[in-house]
């Protein structure tokens, strides 16, 4: 069972080469008698070989009834996904399995990602028009519904399963149709309801001492924003419009009333950005989260935030584009639009998360920069980070950065207040409504330096344009230098950003294990980059930049530092696999 599960999903991960194992497979998930004795369930261990966690805890449990759940939940790893047929959780079945309360309701599964699907109902509905199929027969097909569903979740090709079903039930056309209908219904449900392969494993760093918990990127981002709110004393105001995969952050934060977190589902992404910007003008921590299509729509408003010089955090959970693309698949396709996706000269800082747990630090860092420099900041996450989880070491609260809103409270010129006077960080004062005497008006028209009055003066425009750019450049002064993870004698560097961190480390480690000499550096700040970036890159004979896009960071480093960086790309809606990247590095070492 376990075995089949693993074979199924290992195969899923590499795709294609698993056809052999398929035929016996559905049989394995035939519905159980429902007692602990005759349990059937199957567990999927979805992991590319390299990033297997120590100990073979499965990551996904598909439980067709309470008994199956009870028997197998113990083995499932924390943070894993539990996919249940909720129709089977009747009082009666619960009793049979020896559950006092319904585990789907009583919160006992809080540590897992619970996905409830009415598999029986849907299977029956899907098969009702088929001649000569009783609801009983139909119900039997629900395993095929489950197979269809996980086939969707793990992007398995359907044709093979379909052929197999057709062969297997060649004799019984009705049953065959029912099973096909069920399989398709399951697959389509996954697609329609945009269910994810909810869980990937990322190997944790060699565990430092400390208290750990499992978090996925969405939760870590939410916690980071809440921490930033507590640290800065700024009320957190998230305005978003639902979009896969960013909706989860809206869902997550909407539960944290206790921290005074305000979430608002806006009428669209443009409104969401403007509402968050309004909240920022009102003196709160304005955040808006979206994915590619929504980022496009926010462009004009982000440009306004650049002109207003107000703190605003824009989170883009990247997904496969262009256009609607593949909404549930991962991609690093939005770096260049984050850099340049606004008309005119409108630079802003960009931060990117590297691992599920690091999303916490990245969120804090985005807030720190936004508040300190009074600027919109784009935080780049992606589908892979949002839905992956890893053991996360709880930070000590004292290690968290202090974030001081430093609101303006006094006039800053005799007899008045000028909103565009700058401090040593080139940041302007943040004077919030309610502060007597500091009334001021700001807008998107070019402003006169210092006074902030509308100005069409040519030199002033050039000065302000350069000031806005210089301010963003200044952020580099407050961030750590780019460090390479080195081995002696290496003259090749792998430079990664975002969620490619984990696989780049793994690939580099693999290359080294077999004697290859290669270093690794990772960028958490994409704009500005650490001050020493150019110098570091030039210290190597070769720089390799792996990205799950057509090569975006590589364009920036080539333009900025004139290094002949080499691009390794994958655009399949999937993360790199260590073996793929290892291969690519080897070729370039030769």
């Amino acid at each position: 069972m376990q075995l089949v599960g693993s074979r199924f999903t290992d195969a899923t991960a590499v795709l294609g080469n698993d056809l052999a194992t398929l035929p016996d497979f559905p049989a394995e998930i035939r519905a159980p008698a429902g007692t602990l004795a005759g349990v059937s369930a199957f567990q999927i261990h979805f992991a590319s070989r390299d990033i297997l966690t120590p100990g073979d805890h499965p990551n996904v449990l598909v439980a067709m009834n309470p008994a199956a759940l009870k028997a197998n939940i113990g083995a499932l790893e924390k943070g894993g996904t539990v996919l249940v047929n909720e129709d089977a959780f009747s009082k009666n079945n619960l009793k049979k399995a020896g559950y006092a309360d319904n585990p789907l309701e009583d919160g006992s599964l809080a540590d897992y990602q619970l996905v409830r699907v009415a598999m029986t109902t849907m299977t029956v509905a899907a098969t009702e028009d088929i001649e000569g199929i009783t609801p009983r027969d139909a119900a039997r097909s629900k395993n095929l519904f489950a197979l269809g569903l996980i086939s969707w979740m793990y992007g398995r090709p359907t044709d093979v399963s379909i052929e197999w079903i057709e062969k297997k039930f060649a004799g019984k056309p009705a049953i065959c149709d029912a099973n096909l209908a069920a399989f398709r219904a399951g697959y389509n449900f996954g697609e329609t309801a945009e269910l994810f392969a909810v869980h990937y494993e990322v190997k944790p760093a060699p565990a430092e001492p400390g208290v750990y918990r499992n978090v996925n990127g969405t939760t870590a981002t939410a916690l980071g924003l809440i921490a930033a709110s507590v640290k800065s004393r700024l009320p957190l105001f998230l305005a978003s419009y639902p979009i896969t995969p960013a909706s989860e952050l809206l869902h997550e934060l909407s539960r944290h009333k206790r921290f005074g977190v305000r979430t608002m589902q806006a009428e669209d992404e443009i409104a969401a950005a403007n509402i968050a910007l309004g909240a920022a003008f009102g003196g709160q921590l304005g955040v808006t989260a979206t994915s590619g299509p929504g980022l496009d729509l926010k462009a004009e408003t982000i440009g306004l935030a650049v002109a207003l010089e107000l703190p605003l955090v824009v989170i883009d959970v990247q997904r496969a584009g262009p256009s609607t693309g593949m909404p549930t698949k991962t991609e690093q396709g939005d770096l260049l639009t984050a850099m340049y996706g606004r008309h005119g000269e409108s630079p802003l800082p960009i931060v990117a998360s590297s691992t599920p747990g690091q999303c916490f630090d990245a969120a804090l860092e985005a807030v720190r920069i936004a508040v300190r420099y009074r600027t919109p900041v784009i935080l780049l996450n992606d589908t892979f980070l949002a839905n992956s989880s890893e053991p996360w070491r709880l930070p000590s609260l004292d290690d968290l950065p202090d974030i001081d809103p430093a609101f303006a409270t006094e006039e800053n010129t005799e007899g008045g207040f000028w909103p565009y006077v700058r401090n040593e960080s080139l940041a302007r004062p943040w004077a919030v409504p309610g502060t007597p005497g500091l009334q001021h008006r700001i807008g998107g028209l070019e402003k006169e330096d210092l006074t902030g009055n509308i100005s069409y003066d040519p030199e002033n425009h050039e000065r302000m344009t350069k000031l806005r750019e210089a301010k963003v450049a200044k952020v580099a002064e407050g961030i750590p230098a780019l460090e390479a993870d080195r081995v002696d004698g290496s003259d090749v560097l792998v430079l990664s950003w975002g969620s490619t961190y984990g696989v780049a480390r793994a690939a580099v480690r693999r290359v080294r294990l077999s004697g290859g000499k290669v270093d690794h550096a990772h960028l958490h700040h994409l704009n500005p980059m650490p001050a020493n970036t150019g110098e570091l890159l030039h210290s190597y004979r070769k720089v390799i930049v792996p990205e799950t896009n057509m090569g975006q960071l590589v364009k920036i480093v080539r333009a900025d530092y004139l290094v002949d960086a080499d691009s390794v790309t994958k655009v399949q809606g999937l993360p790199f696999f260590a073996e793929e990247l290892e291969e690519a590095i080897r070729e370039r070492l030769a």
Partner: protein, 350 residues
């Protein structure tokens, strides 16, 4: 209710200093064309503000792009001159974040009904505490005279040399269709009427929507003469007053009554008798009467209702929740944060 929201009277209990028009007037030079209707509205608003008992620092004006959008620069309050069409969204963020503020939106017919239509109807539906002033000049002023969603069909403009093809919106009707709780209309130069209307709008809990007929003397001069010019307006302004019979004309000789077919019609009071005249009920819960009155005149070219069409009290957006969150934020300290981070299942590596 207006005690807590809209910034009214909210001054930490301490007695309000008294303010003057000057306190609400910025030092910026007004830059509208000489003769523009916007001047009259600005003057009225600046004089009205001190009355409202909200200090300048707790008053915020938000605008979009357009001539109307310049308004914010002339008020010595907090202000955001946003981007085209988005003022209701920016203002929503401010008002929801800061219920202690009095938030005003100044917008044009293109800004709020063309590019900004979606944000307008959603703000009204949610009943966010905003006072939305729509300066309707039935034209795009700032961009030099293209037709707008309120221009009459067939209008010849720079972008429609052969006449526009669009059937226009009736802003009051659109607002009512969008569930607006307060809907009114007034005329730029009619200072007292503008003041009375805005006074009512200011104290209404939730969104108040006020259409102000505003003359653009450069690109659409005279669009509102019928209800704006001496000699004409007396006969054509149907001034709605809650609880009073709807009568108009120099001697109030005309009125509005419901015919046997159930439809509203304009009648000669002498003929039908005073009792037949419809009594205005702005506080009627369902918006149907207000909607009927909005359609009494599709365009301001004949007798046209002005004043408050509808004013009903319903919960403002997230009001109670807002108070709850504000308190929660006060008490959420690092200890609480620590618990949150350590929530769920943890293990220790030593």
């Amino acid at each position: 209710m207006t005690q807590q929201v809209n910034g009214h009277g909210a001054n930490g209990g301490s007695p309000l200093p008294t303010f003057t028009k000057k306190d609400f007037s910025s030092d910026q030079e007004t830059r509208w064309c000489p003769g523009c209707g916007d001047y009259a509205i600005l003057a009225t608003v600046q004089s009205l503000m001190p009355e409202l008992g909200v200090p300048p620092e707790r008053t915020v004006f938000v605008s979009g792009i357009g001539c109307a959008g310049r308004f914010v620069y002339y008020m010595d309050t907090y202000g955001v001159h946003g981007i085209h069409g988005r003022a209701p969204a920016i203002a929503t963020g401010i008002a929801v974040a800061r219920p202690d503020l009095s938030v005003w939106v100044v917008t044009g017919d293109g800004d709020s009904l063309s590019i900004g239509g979606n944000h307008l109807i959603h703000a009204l539906r949610r009943n966010v505490p905003l006072k939305i002033l729509l300066f309707n000049n039935q034209i795009y002023g700032l961009t030099k005279g293209q037709y707008s969603p309120t221009s009459e069909q067939g209008k010849v403009t720079k972008s429609t040399p052969f006449g526009s093809q669009d059937h226009p919106f009736n802003p009051v009707a659109l607002a009512l269709g969008a569930e607006a709780s307060f809907v009114a209309r007034t005329v730029d130069v009619d200072r007292d009427h503008v003041a009375d209307t805005l006074r009512a709008a200011a104290t209404h809990p939730g969104s108040s929507f006020v259409e102000i007929y505003q003359n653009c003397n450069v690109f659409n001069d005279g669009a509102f003469d019928t209800v704006r010019e001496k000699g004409l307006r007396e006969a054509n302004q149907i001034r709605l007053v809650h609880g009073e019979p709807i009568r108009f004309g120099r001697e109030l000789e005309r009125g509005v009554a419901r015919g046997d077919d159930g439809r509203l019609q304009i009648v000669d009071v002498g003929e039908v008798g005073e009792d037949a005249v419809l009594v205005h009920d702005a506080e009627r819960l369902e918006p149907t009467l207000a909607f009927e009155l909005a359609h009494l005149a599709e365009r301001p070219t004949g007798p046209t209702p002005i004043g408050v069409f509808r004013s009903v009290v319903r919960p403002t957006y997230a009001e109670a929740l807002g108070r709850e969150l504000a308190e929660a934020h006060q008490t959420a300290d690092e200890a609480a944060l620590g618990e949150l981070l350590a929530a769920g299942d943890t293990w220790t590596v030593s």
